[in-house]
Amino acid sequence: MTTTVRRTPLPVFTKALTDSRRSLVGWSLGFAAALSLYLPIFPSMSGNSQMQDLIDSLPTELTRTINYENIGTGAGYTQSTFFGLVGFLLISIAAISWGAAALGGDEESGQLELTLAHAVTRVEVAAQRFAALAVKILLPALVAFVIVMIWNGPAELDIDLANLLSTCLLFGGLALVCGSAALLGGALTGRRAWGIGTGAFVAVVGYVFNAVGNQGTDLEWLHALSPYYAAYGHDPLINGADAWTVVLFYLAALVLGALAALALRQRDVGV
């Protein structure tokens, strides 16, 4: 019998991860850098009444929009500056670009055709790439958890670690929902741009509906349509998060991933 080369299990999943190892390192460093720029200056801001005066002097519409109302506490500050703003922006960009590239971009470039001609089903390809997407998104979320934990003492943030954990899970879950929407958009159309559009729509509309819903009771109903509000509306870093809310995000992402697999299964690929 001829000897054969040993084969790697879950090749599509493994390749999706190893191919983006550089970009993963880059994003993780970016997260660590952003957190390490914001968090250490908290003590100088919280003890500084001028800073609070400045925030108070801003129009309430603005402070509500960027969620700076609770900026006086360590948890509120970390939530407002990182999880709700810069971190949300960074992880959404990463998740959406990964999600859009995973199927839509791969098909557009012509590479998906050859992969699908090999001994793998379309559903397997979609499922393994969705799993890789989830791992890739949870890794920066884990980095955020570790970095905040490290700064918690030195920067006098006084954040409860259980709340930090659930916030990081929501942070990753929200990004995974955006990334899965991008995956679905790409799977439906075979175009990267449509994937990015779909993912960005979920992220941006979620953010805008939250911000507009914050303005007053008339518009509060918009919160119901905002994934961003569902994640951060009840200040999970201060109050902790309901386990169901966390589970719901991952379930929603799973549903979007399953829809992407079904969409890919039905289509003509590479036309």
Binding site: V5, L114, A119, V120
Partner: protein, 311 residues
């Protein structure tokens, strides 16, 4: 190669594929015998690539069905595609990995691949596997695509324009690989617009035009139906007499006769059998006769352009 010899490697029945209002395949049927090499030729847009994509279940037929190695291709499981090697017509390979890593990835999916097989193929094509794919020339990328299709020794090879971008030496190497595959009992289904290549490699040829198969023929039969250019001169005959003798022959066209000092000379184009022509010229006092090799390319081109050509 567990299939019985009687079962066709590919059986395509009335394949129809429309994209919006464009009819890409308009009722294509053909059968490929196991262990044979089957070629498809046709101009761009004739539907060659569409047939191959439909066989691989990359696109779904509007109607009709294709059976590969005894399994219907539609929604076929990975086990079928493990037994198929595919080379897309527009090959795009991921640029950032090396050739070796990329082949390793496809082997992980479709393997097993025998140890040393990849290196052996790469050596035959003088392909450097340790270079980043992005830095490879078009021809070298094509070689990588060929290695990718052949490395797991599949029962069926579906190759869309396999020699595009290869230099003549490498084209010969590729044809050698196809002959070897046939020798191993593998079936090869390939497309080309280079007819000489099909002529060298294939047992049977389908000519495709506007989503329809015009003819399916053995290469020998195709050669018989091919046109030959003739040139002859004879003495003791006038141009008019020569014309009268040649013109009535079946398949004789474009007869052009001119008087010469000793008699007359003629040029013509002959389609089909040669013996009636030989009988006629036997009675002439020939001073010169040139019968060119049948030109498959030209005869096929005529088929492409013939307005009434149908199946």
């Amino acid at each position: 190669m567990t299939e019985s010899l009687s079962q066709p490697a590919i059986e395509a029945v009335d394949l129809v594929k429309t994209f919006g209002r464009t009819v890409a395949l308009d009722g294509v049927s053909f059968t490929v015998a196991p262990g044979s090499v089957f070629g498809v030729i046709g101009p761009n847009g004739a539907g060659k690539t569409t047939i191959m994509r439909a066989l691989l279940d990359l696109i779904r037929l509007s109607s009709g069905r294709a059976t590969l190695l005894g399994t219907e291709s539609r929604n076929a499981g990975p086990e079928l595609r493990r037994r198929i090697g595919y080379l897309p017509g527009e090959l795009t390979l991921e640029g950032r990995s090396t050739g070796r890593r990329l082949l390793r990835h496809y082997a992980d999916i479709s393997g097993p691949v025998a140890t040393g097989r990849v290196d052996e193929l790469a050596e035959r094509f003088s392909l450097d596997l340790d270079r980043t794919v992005r830095t490879l020339s078009k021809g070298n990328k094509q070689k990588l695509g060929i290695v990718q299709a052949f490395m797991h020794q599949p029962d069926l090879l579906v190759l869309d324009e396999p020699t595009s971008g290869l230099d003549p030496l490498m084209q010969q190497e590729f044809l050698g690989l196809v002959r070897e595959a046939r020798g191993n009992g593998q079936t090869v289904f390939l497309s080309s617009h280079v007819i000489s290549e099909i002529q060298q490699a294939a047992d049977e040829v389908a000519i495709l035009r506007n989503g329809r198969i015009i003819t399916v023929a053995g290469v020998d039969a195709l050669r018989d139906s091919a046109i030959r250019h003739l040139r002859l001169s004879a003495s003791g005959v006038t141009a008019g007499e020569l014309h009268d003798r040649l013109r009535p022959l079946a398949g004789m066209e474009e007869v052009d006769c001119r008087p010469t000092a000793a008699g007359a000379e003629a040029t013509a184009v002959l389609t089909g059998g040669i013996s009636p022509f030989v009988n006629v010229i036997a009675t002439l006092r020939l001073t010169d006769l040139v019968v060119e090799e049948p030109d498959l390319e030209e005869s096929v081109l005529r088929l492409y352009s013939a307005p009434g050509a149908g199946p």
